[in-house]
Symmetry: C2
Subunit: 334 residues, 2 copies
DNA sequence: TGTATCAAGGAAAACGTTTGCCCAAGTATT
DNA sequence: AATACTTGGGCAAACGTTTTCCTTGATACA
């Protein structure tokens, strides 16, 4: 049997309340003698608290849920890492969940996390659906949106990246370099992230008086396979293009691969630009020009924000929103 | 306030015990009428159980801890994914922890997990230290070792990969292809994983009567930078080599990069072979020959084993050990 | 001398469940 | 008619903590 506070109390001939006070350093009214006795017994019995019981009375579990689409997508481990580092620093632990962008799973996990009494939730939603009050009723717990924006009253806060500017700068860079027929191999257009990037894309085009052609917008998934498929589509459509702007680096890497396999020279025949700046981006041939996102920092800041909400509940803040800047990393594919 | 079982009891005019029995489908002795009434009230009040309280009495949290060196190393997300998928299937959730191969952090997390009453722990240990009884006393909970082996009584089980054979086959392949001066850019030699691979390396050499030269063994970390450093060392030492066997794909990818930057042709001048078969391995130029590990399956099987131990505690099994096979994936770097 | 203050620590309720035991009434068996 | 099950459901302990309020004795103060 694990030793409990009761065992300590018995052996030290004091009451459980006293033991609890001492162990929690609320020992203003305890003599040095008893304190030391209790501490000694605790150590000897190898006591570790049962946080379940503690949480039951204190109403906090020091646990936060992290709901992500898919940890095997290289974008998310870094985000998770940032979250875990900050959480650990603040004394919280992280429960993690993969949704595969499946709304059902999202709901299931939110449910699970509320049952486990998580103090808060950080989520990258699959689609930009509203956080309905119904859902929030389910999770009577602060929620932070991360990476992907969505409407919704009742969301505790948001940590986002300025996708409009990120895309704008990327496209502007291509335009300055003289590319004019720029394909956008995008993620799902249901996502606000994608929408914002499309905005940026259009804005840059506008500025350079290049007409927008919606045939150049290809909608797909944030997955490696999509890169190959997209290039196929381009060739099938016999589209005349000289640059490809990709929804993320994973897509970009497979686009580069597919283009090279088709005999294209990069960047001479066609330029490629990615998004994220995952580690691998600099290692492919040629090294990938990309829009760097502060991924680690997003995770880190999200936890920071969430814990602030958890621990200072009645601050009068209308909206919490962190918008992080991207940075264009110019390598050799443009 | 969240609604509790008590609220339901009041509104339905029954006792809390009855509600509990109904909600848990232990309603052999309950009339249809009351059951339906209780269910209706529960739904109407939007009840979700508080698993803290439940766990306190049932002594199980349906939570397992996953302790890994670093989730941003592409090997581990896939393992984590396998673990999470199986866990979710079995009704468990996962708490995850990054140690950065720091023994202190390992202990801290084990402590944390026992305090949170995790039902079991899966760990990739940083170094092959024994699971001392002291440590197991801390964690009075089943522990599964995954990926990296270590001695120790009291370990609940192990899920490993046959690293000796994996390395053996890789080296044999190189030898058959005619390469003779084979460098091993290894991970830390304190790890049993590395040791086993070194065994395999030697065995293959032996079989082909190629003398072993310990200058060809370079010890480092399982990180991308190590690949670059290792190649530098090779050139500095002016070592005559025609093949490089790498401790993992991340290293291999940077080795390929470094070699190409130095003007070497791959595989004509020097062959490179990796380990893991991460997704990126097939996307670099030239596509990487590598030893595929069933990473996802390791995570999956570890959870399977752990939950079996948790739920059937008094089986009389002396040792649980799963040794998974690797597979040589031949691409274009050899 | 009487009273207020203070230090040290105990008692017990509370947190939200589960579960073993008990009881009452009805039904079946002898 | 007496006994034995069965059905339906209540009671209360237990899980391991925290925390509020009390009690007791001692000391200080007027």
């Amino acid at each position: 049997m694990k030793t409990t506070i009761k065992d300590i109390a018995q052996q030290a001939h004091v009451s459980v309340g006293t033991v609890s006070k001492i162990l929690n350093k609320k020992d203003g009214h305890i003599s040095d003698e008893t304190r030391q006795k209790v501490m000694a017994v605790a150590k000897q019995l190898n006591y570790t608290p049962n946080t379940l019981a503690r949480s039951l009375v204190t109403k906090q579990t020091k646990t936060i849920g992290l709901i992500l689409p898919d940890i095997s997508n290289p974008f998310f481990p870094e985000l998770a890492r940032g979250a875990e580092d900050k959480a650990s620093e603040l004394g919280y632990s992280i429960m993690y969940c993969n949704t595969d962008d499946d709304v059902k799973k999202e709901d299931k996990y939110i449910q699970m996390l509320t049952e486990k009494m998580a103090d808060g939730i950080i989520i990258t939603q699959s689609v930009a659906r509203k956080m309905t009050s119904e859902r929030l009723q389910l999770a009577r717990t602060p929620i932070i949106l991360i990476d992907r924006d969505a409407e919704g009253e009742g969301v505790g806060g948001k940590v986002l990246v300025d996708n409009l500017m990120g895309a704008y700068e990327a496209i502007k860079h291509l335009l300055i370099k003289g590319y004019r027929n720029i394909v956008f191999v995008a993620g799902p257009l249901t996502s606000n992230t994608t929408k914002a990037r499309l905005e940026g894309y259009k804005r840059a085009l506008d500025e350079f008086k290049v007409p927008f052609n919606k045939d150049y917008i290809l909608e797909g998934q944030y997955k490696s396979e999509w890169g190959f498929k997209a290039v196929n589509q381009l060739f099938e459509k016999k589209l005349n293009f000289d640059a490809v702007f990709c929804g993320n680096d994973v897509i970009a890497i497979s686009v580069v691969k597919a283009l090279k396999d088709a005999g294209k020279l990069i960047p001479e025949d066609v330029a490629v630009i990615g998004y994220d700046d995952i580690h691998m981006a600099s290692l492919i041939e040629p090294p990938l020009t990309t829009v760097r996102q502060p991924i680690y920092e997003m995770g880190y800041r999200a936890v920071e924000m969430l814990v602030d909400i958890i621990e200072n509940p009645n601050q009068d803040i209308k909206e919490r929103r962190i918008l992080l800047a991207t940075k264009l990393i110019i390598r050799k594919t443009t």
